[in-house]
């Protein structure tokens, strides 16, 4: 289906925001200013955006430890996220969560998650809530090729099938679970979707480096699930441009691998070539967005640096609503 000019610009901008957000963090983290562990989503932008562009605030997503992209794609505020990663009390989670635990319930973003594989059962719960509400809303469990080996993911897929929950398991196969290759760690090698199929649900596969492949695939998947056909799964083949965590020396990469995937498997380059080739947008449109996004990220970093720091009293806040 042909997207409108506005929809194309919006999709590109969303991907670009994630890209520049992550590239900037990669630089800033090396100065030591940002605390804790950070896992960057760079390279996988087409998946998060291709999925979330179909969703409303009433559709829920559950993310992973590599969650910045899902958060941004689902509508979390750039400034709030940057401030959170800086540990500010002005952050989306008041500096209590950090990179791995960003959530924004109002946007239907039920949390990044520091525990690999923990998200899938939570997404099934949100899908059961959607089913009970009967309004055709869905819940998405983002998982990587690492989480696809967790028992929680298997339990969640079976429970979703048994209860016919409107849950979509989106597997982003970036070929590495932490520092281990998918050919070693996933018994079905480069095929995660067949596992989901074995649990009794319909599956799709798409090219996670191509926004249009993701977006078109998800249109079909969502139509199927929103119609009350139960859960579904989709596997997107994708690439991560940075290490498992920031500081990972990536000795597991092959010679020239990073240069090659940056050159040939970059979803932003692929999108640009595709829309300019088809004369849907021109380079000037995209260049203007690039400049605007870079400025927005600069602003977000400046604001995060200047934002209020939490106080020792904040340690005690928000453990319980009432105790």
């Amino acid at each position: 289906m042909q997207l409108s000019r506005d929809a194309l610009l919006r999709a590109y901008r969303q991907m670009k925001v994630i890209r520049e957000f992550e590239e900037r963090l990669h630089t800033e983290i090396q100065t030591g200013e940002i605390a804790g562990f950070t896992h960057l989503y760079c390279g996988q932008e087409a998946v998060a955006v291709g999925v979330c562009e179909h969703l409303s605030n009433d559709d829920k997503i559950v993310s992973t430890h590599r969650g910045h992209g899902h958060c941004l794609a689902k509508g979390c505020d750039v400034n709030g996220m940057m401030a959170e990663i800086w540990g500010s009390r002005e952050g989306l989670c008041k500096g209590k969560g950090g990179s791995m635990h960003i959530a924004d319930i109002d946007q239907g973003m039920l949390g990044a998650n520091g525990i690999v594989g923990a998200g899938a059962p939570i997404a099934v719960g949100a899908a059961l809530a959607a089913k009970l509400n009967g309004e055709g809303k869905v819940s998405i469990a983002f998982s990587g090729d690492g989480a696809c080996n967790q028992g929680t993911t298997f339990e969640a897929m079976n429970l979703a099938v048994v209860t016919q929950a409107p849950c979509i398991f989106v597997f982003e196969n970036n070929h590495y679970s932490e520092h281990t290759g998918v050919d070693y760690a996933v018994g079905t090698a480069r095929d995660i979707a067949s596992r989901a199929e074995a649990f009794g649900m319909k599956v799709w596969r798409g090219d996670g480096t191509d926004f249009f492949s993701v977006h078109d695939t998800m249109r079909e998947v969502l139509e199927y699930v929103r119609a009350g056909n139960g859960p579904a799964a989709v596997e997107f083949d994708t690439e991560r441009f940075f290490g498992h965590f920031e500081g990972d020396p990536q000795r597991y990469r092959g010679p020239g691998e990073l240069d090659r995937i940056r050159e040939t498997r970059d979803c932003l380059k692929i999108f640009r070539a595709s829309v300019t080739g088809a004369k849907l947008l021109d380079h000037a449109d995209l260049d203007a967005l690039d400049a605007e996004v870079l400025k927005a990220i600069d602003d977000a970093v400046d604001k995060a640096r200047a934002a209020d720091r939490p106080t020792p009293e904040d340690v005690l806040a928000d453990v319980y609503i009432a105790y």
Binding site: G97, A126, E155, V319
Partner: protein, 336 residues
């Protein structure tokens, strides 16, 4: 007042709350029972009969029978809660927290704090705990010591049918995650239960016997043992305060400290193992905050630091008995 069994107080309260609030849902293994069998739905109705009749009344979308997938059950409860429902998830045996703990500990307990206070997480996790069935090491444990130590959870341990009703109602209406521990040896216990919209706030202990000489703190199956000891000693003119904390998180510290200030003697009787447990916790509380009132060292009566054995003689030897409790009370009475 109505006479009711402990297990019936569970199912009655759940049914009343489901009737009142369409967001309340139940999920767990065999909470319907008989799904996919010749016998059909409700052929079992929950192995503890704590969900009997709910499926017929509220249907499959609100009474969700799950496969044996404890992580998925607890995770689904977390997701339901984040999405605005009020799930009541049943873990058939408390011992099964082992296979589902991440969803309780790292997810449910953490969401509110980790997300900067922007969400509530109104989930109730019910579980049957405790010894007395000769069910051995993997089906008899008391797990409150593990869960009470986890910030973000509230932990409730009703000891009577009335407390089941009052505390379960509060748990279901609470906006924080609540662990609701039901002692499996008490399911058949009968007692008076107030009718209507009866609830008990968390963090309020119950004084079940009053006396001036010794403070005994206990709950669950062993509370009855303590009351029997207190009644026996009363005939000798020895008075015991018997305190049931009812909730271990929050803990009614004031009720315990106030009592010890009068009696000067403390015996804590707990079914969990001795190390890093509730008994040690309450003894430390009293040593810290009521030291000058103490006339004897606080005593903890617990099982030994072993797994729970199977054979009848062994389980009996493992559990605190009325004799052991009485000996501890006499020890603090006879100090110096």
């Amino acid at each position: 007042m109505a006479q009711m069994m402990y297990r019936d107080a569970v199912v009655t309260t759940i049914a009343e709350e489901m009737e009142r609030d369409p967001n309340v849902v139940v999920l767990g293994e065999d909470v319907v029972g008989g799904m996919g069998t010749a016998g059909g739905p409700e052929a079992i109705g929950g192995i503890w009969s704590t969900s009997t009749g709910l499926y017929g009344k509220f249907g499959k979308d609100r009474v969700i029978d799950t496969p044996i997938s404890e992580s998925a059950i607890m995770g689904a409860a977390a997701g339901l809660a984040l999405a605005g429902k009020r799930p009541i998830a049943e873990l058939m045996f408390a011992d099964f927290i082992g296979v589902s703990l991440d969803q309780i500990w790292n997810q449910l307990a953490k969401f509110r704090y980790m997300f900067g206070g922007k969400t509530k997480c109104p989930a109730v996790i019910r579980m049957a705990y405790g010894a007395g069935y000769n069910a051995a090491a993997q089906h008899s444990q008391s797990v409150h010591q593990i869960l009470t130590g986890m910030p973000g959870l509230k932990v409730v341990m009703p000891s009577t049918p009335a407390d089941v009703k009052g505390l379960l109602r509060t748990a279901i209406r609470d906006d924080d995650p609540v662990i609701f521990l039901e002692h499996k040896a008490l399911y058949g216990m009968s007692g008076d239960v107030p009718e209507g919209d009866y609830s008990i706030p968390f963090g309020h202990a119950r004084l079940t016997r009053a006396g001036q000489d010794v403070t005994i703190v206990s709950s669950g199956l062993l509370l009855g043992f303590c009351e029997a000891v207190a009644d026996k000693l009363a005939a000798e003119g020895i008075g015991c305060d018997v305190i049931d904390p009812r909730t271990t998180s929050p803990l009614d510290e004031e009720a315990i400290l106030d009592s010890v200030e009068v009696t000067g003697r403390l015996v804590v009787v707990d079914e969990a193992p001795p190390r890093c447990g509730l008994a040690a916790d309450i003894c430390a509380l009293v040593a810290d905050k009521a030291f000058s009132s103490l006339k004897a060292p606080p005593q903890a009566v617990t099982p030994p630091h072993t797994p729970i054995p199977f054979a009848r003689e062994l389980e009996t030897a493992y559990l605190p008995s009325t004799d052991k409790i009485e000996a501890a009370v006499r020890k603090v009475l006879g100090w110096r």
